[in-house]
Each structure stands twice: as C-alpha cells, then as structure tokens.
C-alpha cells in the first residue's frame, strides 16, 4: 500500500472504513470502525479495546482471531499461521485489514484452538 500523510482516520473518508464486530467467546461484543490503512488491532486500540498481541509483525500468533464473516487481507505474509489454519478462517489481527464489514471472534481462547497438546 502506498503511504500518505496524516492519520488513518483523517485521510480515509467513511467510504473506506469498515465496521468490525469483535466477539469474545465468553460473551460480549464491541464494534469498531477500521480505516483502510488500519489493522483490526490498531482499530481496536484506537477505540481503547484491549486485544491480545505480541510481535505485531505476524510472527507470533498471540493476536489470532477467527473471521466469522466478511473479508480481510493480511498486509504481509501471516507467518505464524499454517495453511490449514488460514483455510479455517484464522487471521492475525495485527496485520489484518478489513476489506468489507467483518465479524471476528477474538480473545486468547481463539489461539488455543491452534495449539492442542500433541501427545494427548
């Protein structure tokens, strides 16, 4: 993506912004508006909503969410997700940009789907 000056919120008209509904497994939802150049994590932070994260570069999977509806694009290769997890709709919220309005499951339980005990 090309860089432009100003904050994401300033430079994007409402047409470029998408509604992102964040749903926690334990219950609870929040809706944030993400500008075109914003990741879901950044949009949530701007709205003062705490989502888990670590590396912020797509390597660690701490921010894993699961896309329930809508479309997102990873701004770079989501290295921490394996192909089958990607196919199952898991996304890395630190590098995920909504392309349409979305519903996304969030919270640390989502990541634990990916890492079960391999010996059990």
């Amino acid at each position: 993506m090309t860089e432009r000056d100003g904050t994401a919120a300033e430079r994007d008209g409402d047409g470029d912004r998408h509604r992102v509904e964040l749903r926690w497994r334990g219950g609870g939802t929040e809706t944030v508006r993400a500008a075109a150049a914003e990741s879901v994590l950044e949009a949530a932070e701007r709205a003062d909503i705490g989502l888990p994260f670590g590396c912020r570069t797509g390597a660690c999977a701490t921010c894993t969410g699961r896309l329930l509806s809508g479309k997102i694009e990873h701004e770079r290769e989501p290295r921490a997700l394996k192909t089958d997890s990607l196919a199952d709709g898991y996304v890395l919220l630190c590098i995920a940009r909504p392309k349409t309005d979305c519903r996304i499951e969030v919270g640390t339980d989502v990541h634990s789907d990916l890492v079960t005990n391999p010996w059990k």
């Binding site: 994260f53 670590g54 390597a59 660690c60 290295r79 921490a80 919270g107 640390t108 010996w119 059990k120």
Partner: protein, 467 residues
Amino acid sequence: MSDTESSESGAHEHHEHHHDVEGPGYATPQAAIEEAERETVAYVPSLYVGTDVDAPDFLSVVDVNPDSDTYTEVIDRVEMPNKGDELHHFGWNACSSSCHVEGLERRHLVVPGQRSSRLHIIDTKDRENPEIVKVIEPEEVYEYDLSAPHTVHCIPDGEILISMLGNEDGDLPGGFLELNDDFEIEGRWDPPGEIEMNYDFWYQPRHNVMVSSEWAAPKTYYPGFDLEDVEAGKYGHKLHFWDWERGQLQQTVDLGEEGMIPLEVRFLHSPEAAHGYVGAALSSNIFHFYEREKEWFAEKVIDIEPREHEDWDMPVPGLITDLLVSMDDRYLFFSNWLHGDVRMYDVSDPSNPRLADQLWAGGLYGPRHPTGEDDRPVVAGPQMLQLSIDGERLYWTTSLFSTWDNQFYPEEGEKGSVMLKADVNPRKGTMTLDEDFLVDFGEMPNGPARAHEIRWPDGDCTSDVWQ
C-alpha cells in the same frame, strides 16, 4: 575438580586478573561463595501475554529474606511501558567477568521482550524499587535484521551480548546483538548467517570459546509446540562453538536424535574448566560437552525415560527446560517440566554425573499441593531454576512460555505461577522442599501472572562468568 585434560588449552587468550582494580563481581567463584551475602530480593519477569489480562508485563521484586515481614511476597512491580512483550530471560550489564573494569557496576538489568523484541534497561540502584531508565524499541532492533531476544550476558569489556532467535521477520537465521555500556546498539556481534538457529549461550574467556544452542525460528515456536514441526526438521539439535575473540563459528556438534531442542547451556564456573552441560528439552537428555586437543565433543550423560500417563496417548517426556551448575562446580541441577521433578547430580567427575537427590512438586506426576493441602495448587512443573551463591537454597518458577504453557498446563494462565524453594545440603548432597516458602503470582493486582527467570542482585549461578 578434575580438569586435567583441558587445563593446558587454557593458556591461549588468558587475561590476567587485575586484583588491584575495583570492578563488579567477585575475583573467583570461591570468593563469590565466601563473600556473597545471603540473597534478600529476587528479580523475576512476570507476564500477562497469552491471558485475557489486558495489562503490560512487569518485573517482580520478590522478598526472599526470611527475617522480613514481607517474606515470600512480591514487594514491588516494575511495569513495562507497553503490552505484549512476553518478558522471558534477562541479564546484568556487568558480572564477575568484568571485575577488571574500574567504575563498572552490576546495577542495570537488560530485560528483553521475547515477542515484542523490545529491550528494557532497568536500574536497580535502589534494590527494592528498581526503575526503567531506557527502552530500545523493536524497530531499532529490526534494523540489524534480528528479532526475538533471548539470553543476555555481559561480556568482559563492559559490553552486553544478546542472543536473537530470528531475523526481522521472525524467520531464520538468528544471531547476536551487541549493546555498548551506554545501552546503545553497537551492532551485530557475529557475521550474519554463521548459524541458522539460536537460543542460549555461555562463554569461557580463558578457552576463547562461546557455546550456543538451538530452539527454532520464532515463527515456529511462538505459536506453540507442534510435533509436525519436529518431524519437518524445524527444531534444533546442534551446539555451536565460537571463537570468542573473533565472533566466528569454529565448530558445530550435532547432538542427533537424542539431542532434540538443546536449550540452556552452562559451562562450569571455574575459568580453567573446558566442561559444560546442555539440556536437550524434547529428548530429555543431558549432554556433557568438553574440549580435547582443541576439538569440542558432546556426550549424552543423563537420560530421562518418558513415562506413561493415563490421560496421554503417548509416553510423556520429562522435558528438561532448565539446568544450572552450583558455584563450586560440584552439583548439576535440572528441572523436568512435564514430569514435575527437580534433580540434583554430583558432577565432581564431569563426565560421570551421579544422581544425588530428586524432589517432586507439581507437574504431571508430582503432588499438586507440595507445600500443604491448604496452599494453592501448583498447576505446572518446575521450570526456571536459581541457586543461592552458597549453594544452599534452590528456587524455581513454573511457567515456560505463554503459548506452550497454554498447551500443556492451561491452568497456569488462569491461576498464575508459583515460586518454590528447596533447602540444599551440599555436604550430604540432598534437597528438601521448604514447605513454608511459596510465592503466589496468582495474587497480582491485575490478575494472575506467569513467572519466569530468577536473578539475584549480587550475581548468581546462571550469569556469572570469570576471566
């Protein structure tokens, strides 16, 4: 100690110790044992990454002085300025290796974020109320095409070396980052690409050697442990021996099938010794490495058998996650994180460790309430260890790595870690769990926290090196 076969090779690069200069640390390991006072506070990285507690990680100051009213309590917490770091291992700006450098003090802790690649500098001038004085942001680290900082050691001239497990993208290769004594990034220590994987390291200046071990690429181990990654060869099984002066790789020893995921590496403390140990976590073996005629060898000397468990489909490996050598080089201690035991071996003959004692606390096979039925349960196994300098008190915490904890001990995230202690009798070679000692990281103001490595202000068995 028996070191006859290798003491000759100690002649090269031997820096004489200048006793007339007042630098940090102790002149010899024996001086440390004799002169060090009993530890009164412990520094312990404590973290919220991987839980739903929306707060930054912090450094705990734990009161370990039995004469204090706040004994076994977290008496201060240094909050990090950002969330998401995953504080993990950390180290001092100076140790006994720089005791020839006048004016240098063992005062600043370098505390990296494993996930964030951020480096925090903490001033411990006021031992009980340390404070952050500088933060190196991840972008500055990425400029050197490195990420995922792990082990921090001071190096003899007052500088600091940090093993880095990945490149800027969390892929391989890793390398080493060097900081100067003003805590500015000096650059890379090693020519990039000498090694692929990296993890822990330790150096022995009189032998001009540094040894480093291997975990995996950050993107492989960060999300959690997957046996498929092991089968695909994405986890390490090698030790690397470096020319310490030049920062160049000299020799690589492949530990093979029985040396899967070699993590912590420790040389004996005697600067003359060319012996050390590494714990292979996954294959649950201890290897002894040593130098003979300028060549390094590694031999398996301890083997932990996997055990059946009714809830597991496959035999459970011990998963040796930490080990340390006592300051007098007589005992080797290590933890089996999955099984739940701590072991003590007599290593007076370094190539023939002899089991001295073993104790159980938590884990899959140890007691869930080792310190008493009314105490909170221990929901994971013994992990990071630290021994008092005099060798009489062994302490440990129970968290390994947030994502791995969530896989093997999901309750650790909900209840938090504990710190436990055993009284050690070095004369008899025994350990006894101290049932009056339990630090509960489940009781933190923002919610239960995990706890990781342990350091004393006056140096310890896993950071001090002698020239």
